[in-house]
Amino acid sequence: MSRIDSVASSRMQNIARNPVVLALAMTLALAGCASKKNLPNSAGELGLGGSATPGSTQDFTVNVGDRIFFDTDSTSIRADAAQTLDRQAQWLQRYSNYPITIEGHADERGTREYNLALGARRAAATKEYLASRGIPASRMKTISYGKERPVAVCDDISCWSQNRRAVTVLGGAGM
């Protein structure tokens, strides 16, 4: 299992490389209130993002993306998640005053105690990835909420996939 994961994650890093550059460019552009058309990952977000103060929690949540998602029973960082985490790392290095809490969550399709551990594993994998992108481990705390704090509440895959998540919270654990 770990061998497959490392192959997959090195591929993700390659895929992620380009978007990182673009995301960085986007962040800088926003900070300068410049034009923001035709950048990837931003079209739906810019309406709100335009009003977020650069460096604010809202800026992080809306323009960078505060959460990543996982496959069922998996703690591997997916390619789309790696892009988000790369953007997070860029932003967190620029605004280095925030302490960080990474919350790990599981969907409801598991038992309570196992899901507490699974959420912790997801938070740990996220922390490890951010550390590999230059965020000091000492700046990051983790907490697992298992399946106890879903954000989406329907009974099918569309909700479960939103609940299998790790959320990077600035300041401390909250919601």
Binding site: M1, D73, T75, E108, R109, G110, T111, R112, E113, Y114, L116, A117, L118, A120, R121, A124, A125, I143, S144, Y145, E148, R149, P150, V151, A152, V153, D155, G172, A173
Partner: protein, 435 residues
């Protein structure tokens, strides 16, 4: 009694001298190992009293026996003889005619010191004899408990097995919408009465479990955003953190002697099983793998521990010796297995099984053979054993809106019953019997 129980009930138990000394007959009995048994018709008369209490106690006794699935209380309207003196033998013919195989009579009275005196007699109608007679003294507010003790005595006399009605259940009371669920620890009688909240709803609380003495609960709380295992004294409400571990602790249970708490410690992506001795405060690490090892549960003799681990890929059940040696996998079926709980009789392990998108409650022998699924559906989780090892309780979440509820089911897979609670409820844990 050695220690007083946490509800400060003093039950004085004496054998009632039989009005006339006929030996107990073996005519009335239930073999509860047969599975779907035909419930035994039993007549439970209103206990004689100057007020409603006699009828109330009889009703609780009848409800307990009915819920067990082993007894069929006969409607009062069918009764022919009106019992006016429970010290006298009944007219057995009148009870045989309505096919009452057993008959319960009794009396409730107030003592001069304000205590309640409750006495009952169990009659074998076809044998024409008294099977047992007992009396109890208690404070009037404990009348439901006395009724449960009487139901236990009847159950035990007729089935030959210990009863489980004078027991309580701790659970997580859940209210509010799914994405903002409030959770509180709660305790109730096994029949769903006398619900009392043990914590407020400020912090997430999970997985409460009784100590063998029934006086303490160990559970997990997110208090202060630090998820950890706690102890709660039921009598005083006093709480304390269990140990000083460098990470989240969860999935706690007591050892059968009550001297240790066993639990998981999470460190980064890795969960291992530890014990903490409650007197010396020393901790011992029992597993050491890069996997998730959790949900430990002791065998009743304390020599072995069953737990779940995903060290082989998916969650499966493993057994180890109490010192962590001899770890071996026991579950090999399709799907994944979790939340193992060792039966109080020692012969079976109950579990949650996930397979084909369904969640089931099942049991298997301690060597992993003889797997039996008792109930299956969208989501069933977290079995707990009645202290006689005959009945299991678990929680069920149906698809759609709403929250989890508690259910009980016979070991044979029959007689599934909703346990009514005032709020949604999960994580039930059955108390032991006192004795």
């Amino acid at each position: 009694m050695r220690k007083c129980s946490f509800i400060r009930l003093l039950v004085v138990l004496t054998g009632l001298v039989a009005a006339f000394a006929t030996p107990a007959s073996a005519v009335v009995e239930i073999n509860i190992n047969k599975g779907n048994v035909e419930p035994l018709p039993i007549a439970i008369t209103d206990f004689i009293s100057g007020d409603d209490l006699g009828a109330q106690i009889s009703a609780v006794v009848a409800a307990d026996l009915h819920r067990s699935g082993l007894f069929a209380p006969i409607s009062r309207s069918a009764f022919i003889e009106k019992i006016s003196n429970p010290d006298q033998a009944p007219r057995f013919e009148d009870w045989k005619v309505i096919n009452a195989q057993a008959l319960v009579t009794g009396r409730v009275s107030k003592e001069g010191d304000g205590r309640l005196r409750a006495e009952f007699r169990l009659w074998d109608t076809f044998g024409g004899s008294q099977m047992t007679g007992q009396q109890f003294y208690t404070q009037p507010e404990n009348w439901r408990r006395v009724a449960h003790i009487i139901a236990d005595a009847i159950y035990e006399k007729i089935t030959g097995e210990k009863g489980y009605f004078d027991t309580r259940v701790v659970f997580v009371s859940e209210s509010g919408p799914k994405n903002d669920r409030k959770r509180q620890l709660a305790i109730m009688d096994q029949d769903g009465y006398n619900v009392r909240m043990l914590t407020n709803s400020k912090d997430i609380v999970l997985t409460p479990r009784f100590s063998p003495s029934r006086q303490e609960i160990t559970y997990m709380s997110f208090e202060g955003q630090q998820p950890r295992v706690y102890l709660l004294q039921l009598e005083t409400g006093q709480r304390e953190v269990v140990g000083n571990f460098p990470g989240m602790t969860f999935a706690p249970r007591f050892s059968p002697d009550g001297q240790r708490v066993i639990m998981s410690l999470q460190q980064e992506g890795n969960a291992n099983i530890y014990t903490m001795d409650l007197r010396s405060r020393t901790t011992t690490r029992l597993t050491s793998t890069p996997a998730i090892d959790t949900s430990p549960s002791y065998s009743p003799d304390g020599n072995q521990i069953v737990f779940e681990s995903d060290r082989g890929g998916r969650q499966q059940l493993y057994i180890m010796n109490a010192d962590g040696s001899g770890q071996r996998r026991i579950s090999f079926g399709d799907g994944s297995y979790s939340t193992p709980v060792w039966s109080p009789r020692g012969d079976l392990i109950a579990f949650t099984k996930q397979s084909g998108g369904k969640f089931s409650i099942g049991v298997m022998k301690t060597d992993g053979s003889g797997e039996r699924i008792l109930t299956t559906g969208f989501h069933n989780e977290g079995p707990t054993w009645a202290p006689n090892g005959r009945v299991l309780m678990f929680f069920r979440q149906n698809a759609g809106a709403g929250g989890p509820q508690l259910y009980s089911i016979d070991l044979t897979g029959y007689n599934e019953q909703l346990v009514k609670t005032p709020t949604y409820a999960s994580d039930p844990a059955w108390s032991p019997l006192l004795e």
